[in-house]
């Protein structure tokens, strides 16, 4: 503590203020692209560092908290850092740096318009994501959850074409509909029954609360958190793919969707609590909904020829894993879910980076056109291969660990069907992901346009390099991640 120039509390507030300041400065220097991008990069790095400072406090079970004041008399707008939020914040803020590097290459390489608005909304989205990660109660979480939806809307509609606007409309309407129609009443109902919305490890409901009501509440939460893209409320995610690829990469593979499953996980661990959850019959229903979501979206993914659409459906399926693990409500599954947030983040962002690189370098979006692309873009396609391995859950990538724990979890709870779902899904993952790099390397080129093709601009390759390294590093050194995740399970280890 003495080593640090600032207190943990300040670091936490800084980490949320820095993206805001960045957004302001980007607006101010919008007409000087080089300065603007330097600001974003600096802001992103500083944000990550201030999040990193918090890690020490969290490992010592001493996560800082801060109260902004009462939003509604008796209900505070309040932050509190705990291990799960810490992990999510670390991933989001670290990948913001990488994505910024990537975005510079992408936006310039693609000569996109309205780049200033793009970078502003991006920074705001990160600020709100951190708000979700650090929220100390459901109300605070909801506030940032809605802000995140709003701040990402301009990013989805970025192109301004009829198609982009339609996509953004679906995006906004599904996310707002689920949050207004299910999530908000669920929060108010929780408040009504428990008298508080503050997160507490092990749950907040008084023992005498009726199980029917809690079951309905559970269903409301699961579908209400639309960002977790549980079927049938998943349509927004493929629609969001009209956004520029950096947005799909960071927001719709990491920040926004992870905010969804993070919220689900947080609610299961800190609002319901494992003991209560296992008693609810509605939990079993939702388990199978999640299982169905995993399989169905994998199947749909196979039928997609557009690369980003295929990745989007793959994301829906992978989000189902986290929801599933959260609902299983035993330690090993919770750890698996938590780790999967990180593993999938690195894997999927790599895949999206590759998709964007292919688009910038070769202007190709359809998988069938990518045959033989491996010769012109070997690095990109290799990165795609590693990313795919991580999504499938094969060594030497991080995805192996989280899948392992999730499978253990379903085995331990006796849900053999769900175990089967996970295994079938892995097979499906192989079927829809691996052929892409395989055909790129070993397939014959479709057209004779090979002359001009080369790799994407170097910032994009650099970004891919980092995330690929991340995928492998998470396989070799999963220990810190595991420790952070297991703090959620051992009683008394987390304060609050």
């Amino acid at each position: 503590m003495e080593m640090l120039p600032i207190s943990f509390e300040k670091a936490m507030l800084m980490s949320m203020a820095l993206p805001l300041i960045t957004a302001g400065l980007v607006k101010l220097f919008g007409n000087k692209p080089n300065l603007r991008e330097t600001i974003t990069l600096t802001g992103a790095t500083a944000t990550f560092l201030s999040v990193l400072i918090l890690l020490e406090a969290v490992l010592n079970n001493n996560g800082p908290s801060y109260t902004f004041g009462a939003l509604i008399p008796g209900l505070d707008l309040k932050l509190q850092v705990e291990p799960l939020g810490m992990l999510f914040a670390l991933i989001a803020s670290f990948l913001w740096i990488i994505t910024t590097v990537y975005a510079i290459g992408y936006m310039r390489g693609n000569k996109e318009s309205n780049q200033t608005r793009f970078f502003i909304c991006f920074a705001l989205a990160i600020c709100f994501t951190l708000g979700i990660a650090f929220a100390a109660n459901l109300l605070t979480l909801f506030v940032f959850y809605e802000l995140l939806t709003l701040s990402t809307y301009p990013l989805v509609a970025h192109a301004g074409t009829e198609k982009a606007k339609r996509g953004a409309r679906i995006y906004l309407s599904i996310l707002l509909t689920t949050s207004i129609a299910f999530f908000l009443p669920a929060i108010i109902w929780t408040y009504h029954m428990a008298g508080t919305t503050d997160f507490a490890l092990g749950g907040i409901f008084p023992a005498e609360t009726g199980h029917l009501a809690l079951g309905i509440l559970l269903i409301l939460f699961c579908f209400g958190v639309g960002k977790a893209a549980l079927m049938p409320f998943h349509r927004w995610l493929p629609s969001a793919m009209v956004a520029p690829t950096p947005v799909s990469a960071l927001l719709h593979a990491v920040a926004v969707v992870k905010a969804g499953v993070f919220t689900i996980l947080k609610i299961m661990v800190f609002v319901f609590g494992a003991d209560l959850l296992t008693e609810l019959p509605a939990r079993d229903i939702m388990l199978y909904v999640a299982g169905a979501s995993i399989l169905l979206s994998s199947l749909i993914a196979m039928a997609q020829d557009n690369l980003k659409a295929r990745l989007a459906y793959s994301t829906i399926s992978q989000l189902g894993y986290v929801t599933l693990g959260a609902l299983l409500a035993i330690d090993v599954a919770t750890i698996g879910s938590t780790m999967h947030i990180a593993m999938h983040a690195f894997g999927k962002i790599t895949l999206f980076f590759c998709a964007g690189a292919v688009y910038v370098a070769a202007k190709k979006t359809e998988i069938s056109d990518m045959r033989g692309l491996g010769k012109a873009m070997p690095f990109t396609m290799f990165a795609f291969f590693i990313g795919s391995l991580s999504i499938i859950g094969l060594p030497p990538t991080g995805g192996t660990w989280s899948k392992w724990y999730l499978m253990l979890g379903s085995l331990d709870t006796g849900h053999l069907i769900l175990m089967g779902v996970l295994m079938v899904s892995s097979l499906l993952n192989i079927a829809y992901l691996l052929p892409i790099p395989m055909r790129a390397f070993f397939g014959k080129e479709a057209e004779a346009s090979k002359a001009k093709l080369k790799e994407a601009p170097w910032p994009m390759l650099l970004a891919m390099g980092v995330t690929v390294t991340g995928c492998i590093a998470l396989f070799l050194f999963p220990q810190p991640l595991f420790e952070l995740a297991s703090m959620l399970t051992m009683e008394g280890k987390v304060n609050g």
């Binding site: 939003l71 509604i72 909801f142 509609a157 301004g160 409309r169 207004i180 908000l184 009504h192």
Partner: protein
């Protein structure tokens, strides 16, 4: 001297704007009528503020007009309910007048401006009079003052359809006022008094007569017309749409709210909740109409092409929310309804002010005019978005707070509550549809060639707009003032009888 003035605050509340009206009319020097009106509105606001503080602890301030003791003379009676409404109305008056100078200059020819401002002041005086008076007949008198002056105000609209809109409003308004008058007549016949407090004590003896039941029905329907409660709302959309911008702002944020107050006052204070909801089936009727109001109002708003129409229909839906709160018939429900009166006034004012800015530059407010406006008029549009988010009920805006309390209040009701909650939320989703349609056009469509040159609205218009936009956020974050005031008002009302 100062003490004397302080004792007479209740009288000043109405007298200030009332006396300033002829002054505006006589002193026809360019710019002077506005100045008089503006300064008076600030003073009126100050009076409201002082009155609000005086009764904040739950005291009731009774003022005998002209020294004639009630129940013979006219009594002005200030409590926590009407002082909250007066604070709101006079506050909106200040902001509207701040906006008026530029906006009126561009929409109303100079020689008629003095008439405009005197009508405006009469309207303000009328609305405040309705709120403050403790005399039932006096309510009718002020109702007519505010109504007649608002007919004049609406007819100032540039569009010729303003005249038919005024006429429609005049017919409906007169029917409403007449119904109230007939109701009052019946009550006077049976009790021989017109003082509200006196009525409240004398009515129970004669409660079981058909005359009083009829009086009750007349008054409720009369107030509902003024309130524009579905299906008595048909006068509202056109009246709002074709009136001058500043009139729309003022009326949208005040007149229906005052009508709701009339309804509350008669139902709860004069007749008493026991009679109104126990013997008469008012709860079911109100709830049913309110639910329909939310659904039809919001649904109609989705399909309008004139943005003023969108907001007008949205108002009809939002009035439904307020009445839902009332019809829940609990202190929390009532508090939620009153809170929404306050919150809705703020965000609707913000939205109509933003529309006023657009109208100032474009001369109309159709959805085509909004193409690319996010670029040409960024500040106006940002304020519009804030107000729109309020209507949707996004967190950190006033709309969220209203929704939260309405849902909480409904949740206490069990099964009926569940239906109510779903209606509230469906209304909120429809709001997404009608607000976002505009936002999308504004930010993701390119402006047409001739409109690309249009500049941002002048500062004189932006300042009042942003005052309301910031208020939309401020009262969405610092909620203790509005929540406590609304809860106090509701307790006063429920405890009244």
């Amino acid at each position: 001297m100062m003490n004397l003035l302080l004792d007479d605050l209740p009288a000043l509340q109405v007298m200030l704007p009332l006396l300033c009206a002829p002054l505006c009319f006589i002193l026809r020097i360019k710019g002077l009528p506005w100045l008089i009106a503006f300064v008076t509105s600030i003073l009126t606001f100050a009076v409201s503020f002082m009155l609000f503080n005086q009764v904040a602890d739950g005291d009731i301030l009774s003022y005998a007009m002209g020294g004639w003791a009630p129940p013979w003379g006219i009594e002005y009676r200030v409590d926590r309910l009407n002082s909250f409404f007066m604070l709101l109305i006079s506050g909106i008056g200040v902001v509207a007048l701040l906006f008026a100078r530029k906006s009126v200059d561009s929409e109303i020819i100079a020689c008629k401006q003095s008439i405009f401002y005197s009508a405006f002041m009469l309207c303000l005086a009328g609305l405040l009079g309705i709120l403050i008076t403790g005399d039932a007949f006096n309510v009718f008198v002020f109702l007519e003052i505010s109504a007649l002056s608002s007919y004049v105000l609406i007819s100032f609209g540039q569009d010729r359809r303003a005249l038919t809109a005024t006429f429609q409003y005049l017919i409906m308004g007169t029917i409403g006022a007449t119904m109230i008058l007939i109701g009052l007549g019946f009550m006077y016949m049976m009790t021989g008094t017109l003082n509200m407090a006196d009525l409240a004590t004398r009515l129970p003896e004669v409660m079981n007569t058909n005359t009083i039941r009829t009086a009750f029905a007349f008054i409720v329907i009369g107030a509902s017309i003024k309130l524009a409660l579905f299906p008595l709302h048909i006068w509202l959309p056109n009246a709002y749409s074709y009136a001058p911008s500043v009139v729309t702002v003022f009326l949208a944020a005040t007149s229906t709210k005052v009508a709701l107050y009339v309804l509350l006052r008669f139902v709860f204070t004069v007749f008493g909740a026991e009679f109104a909801f126990g013997e008469m089936p008012l709860q079911h009727i109100l709830m049913f109409m309110a639910v329909l109001a939310v659904l039809t109002g919001s649904l109609c708003a989705v399909f309008q092409t004139n943005i003023k129409h969108v907001l007008a229909y949205s108002s009809i839906g939002q009035i439904g929310y307020m009445v839902i709160g009332v019809a829940l018939l609990t202190t929390t429900g009532l508090a939620a309804g009153i809170l929404h009166v306050f919150n809705h006034a703020i965000m609707k004012a913000c939205l109509f002010l933003a529309i006023g800015c657009v109208y100032y530059r474009h001369g109309s407010a159709r959805i085509e005019d909004f193409k690319g406006i996010g670029k040409t008029m960024p500040w106006t549009m940002a304020a519009f978005v804030i107000g729109g988010l309020g209507l949707i009920g996004m967190p950190l805006t006033v709309g969220f707070i209203s929704k939260w309390y309405l849902v909480i209040a409904a949740m206490e009701q069990g099964a009926i509550g569940a239906i109510t909650i779903s209606i509230i939320l469906i209304g909120s989703l429809l709001a997404v549809a009608y607000v976002w349609r505009i936002v999308e056009v504004a930010y993701f469509n390119e402006p047409t060639k001739e409109k690309a040159q249009i500049k941002e609205a002048p500062l004189a218009l932006l300042i009042p707009t942003w005052i309301m936009a910031l208020a939309t956020i401020y009262f969405g974050i610092k909620t203790d003032f509005s929540v406590i005031a609304a809860t106090n008002a509701a307790t006063t009302l429920m405890g009244a009888k």
